[in-house]
């Protein structure tokens, strides 16, 4: 594919799974059908069900099509209006509403805790945003604790805000992460891979021995197994996953379970 062809724009479908660079223009089927009606874009010709096309991270709408703003692999999810996004290997986390992350408490400021989540500014967490917390019954949170929570406010202009309860007031797994265990950082791409449904890596690891695992979308992973040694083995395997192919990983795991 010649570079020059990219400037005039290429059909988005043709590029799914391939590397795209900022400045590339993706054309949507609706365009070469000359059938765009404002925001509503038809993905297949004829009377197929129409839906709103979702334009995910790394893409912007630009007149005729989509403009790539991040480098990475173009992904597509059919269904509804369809969704396009760019899967990029970033290290720096930018808070997104709804993301589950692991934060480190850095300060207690009156009614809120300040949490370092790896973004450009600390996130705030109210002491009331825990399951069963009331003004009398405050959660026992100390500076340095790890908290697994969810963003309820995250946009570029405001301070991000986290909670440790879902909409029905239940903790559903969120809250302070227990003592011991090991926290480490990986790239955001690997986290997304691990969190994908039916992730092979997690399934393979779970056959080794039992362990607890918390994955934060901000690239942080917390692991705890029965012994320190077992914990570190998991840590090393997960860290190495970034640079291993599926084959290499299976070999490494086979070696471990053999012992």
């Amino acid at each position: 594919m010649a570079a020059m062809a990219m400037e005039r724009g290429t059909a988005a479908e043709a590029l799914v799974g391939q590397v795209v660079l900022p400045g590339d223009l993706l054309l949507l089927p609706a365009h070469y059908d000359e059938d765009a009606e404002g925001e509503r874009l038809r993905l297949s010709a004829g009377t197929a069900p129409q839906g709103r096309l979702l334009c995910g991270p790394g893409l912007r709408r630009s007149g005729a099509g989509l403009l790539v703003t991040k480098c990475g692999l173009l992904r597509h999810r059919p269904g509804g209006g369809g969704a396009y996004w760019v899967d990029s290997q970033q290290k720096r986390y930018v808070p997104v509403k709804g993301d589950h992350v692991i934060g480190i408490v850095t300060a207690k400021a009156g009614d809120v805790f300040r949490l370092d989540v790896g973004g450009s500014e600390p996130a705030s967490l109210s002491y009331l945003a825990f399951e069963g917390a009331t003004k009398r019954n405050r959660p026992n949170v100390q500076v340095g604790d790890l908290i697994y929570g969810q963003f309820v406010v995250a946009n570029k202009d405001m301070e991000p805000e986290m909670v440790c309860i879902d909409s029905s007031g239940k903790s559903s797994g969120m809250g302070i992460i227990g003592q011991d265990g090991f926290l480490f950082k990986v790239s955001l791409g690997l986290i997304r891979k691990l969190l994908a449904p039916k992730c092979e890596i997690i399934q393979e690891l779970s056959q080794l021995y039992p362990f607890e695992l918390v994955l934060g979308m901000n690239g942080r992973i917390w692991v705890k197994a029965k012994t320190v040694q077992q914990t570190l083995i998991i840590v090393n395997i997960l860290e190495a996953c970034e640079y291993m192919t599926a084959e290499q990983r299976k070999q490494a795991l086979a070696k471990l379970s053999g012992n």
Binding site: A2, A3, M4, E7, V19, L21, P22, G23, G58, L67, T69, K70, C71, G72, L73, S88, Q89, Q90, K91, R92, V94, S120, E121, K156, D157, G189, K193, E242, Y243
Partner: protein, 221 residues
Amino acid sequence: MAVEMEVADGQCRLRPFSCELGLLSRPDGSAAFLQGDTSVLAGLYGPAEAKISKELPDRAALEVLLRPKVGLPGVLERSREQLLRQTCEAVLLGVLHPRTAISLVLQVLSDAGSLLSCCLNAACMALLDAGLPLAALFCGVTYALQPDGAILLDPTARQEQEARAVLTFAIASSDRKVLMATTKGSCSVEEMQQCLAAAQRAASTIFQFYRDSVRRRYSKN
């Protein structure tokens, strides 16, 4: 992740290029760019927390630091930092990350000619590696005008010294427009336009090289 490249562009050739992405573990994005024997290492941090004094309410504050191979940065480095910063700002969608700081550190490893264009290329690759939102890409191209009037692409330090004029352009990937231009020595208007047109042609080759480098990086997973 190094890609070797040598391309004929008329009589002009680019020296072999090579680029490695994400080689440093601490920065959010890093790149080492080699053009012949000239090499520059770039590290990028951000969007990170900004100092109150440097915070901008509507966009990210970009800071570029250029470290020479030996000694402390002087007036020349400061003026190049300004060129590099304003070039990056033109493509960076800083409005998406207001009140944050992005710092780009460029360390010159060796200077064997066309240093500024190598810095530009390293800066663009670091921006790509960090996954920052960009409206377009840019690349640096240097031309030397030889005393006999011939134009020479991507000159070495020796060729730069002998040249009558040295012109460096930053070309944007969208419509091949000029983002940055700076000249050393004097030339006629026609010669400048001739170099610019040639730089726009050479840019295609460099952008293709960018694409190949990124593709190699992503082929690993």
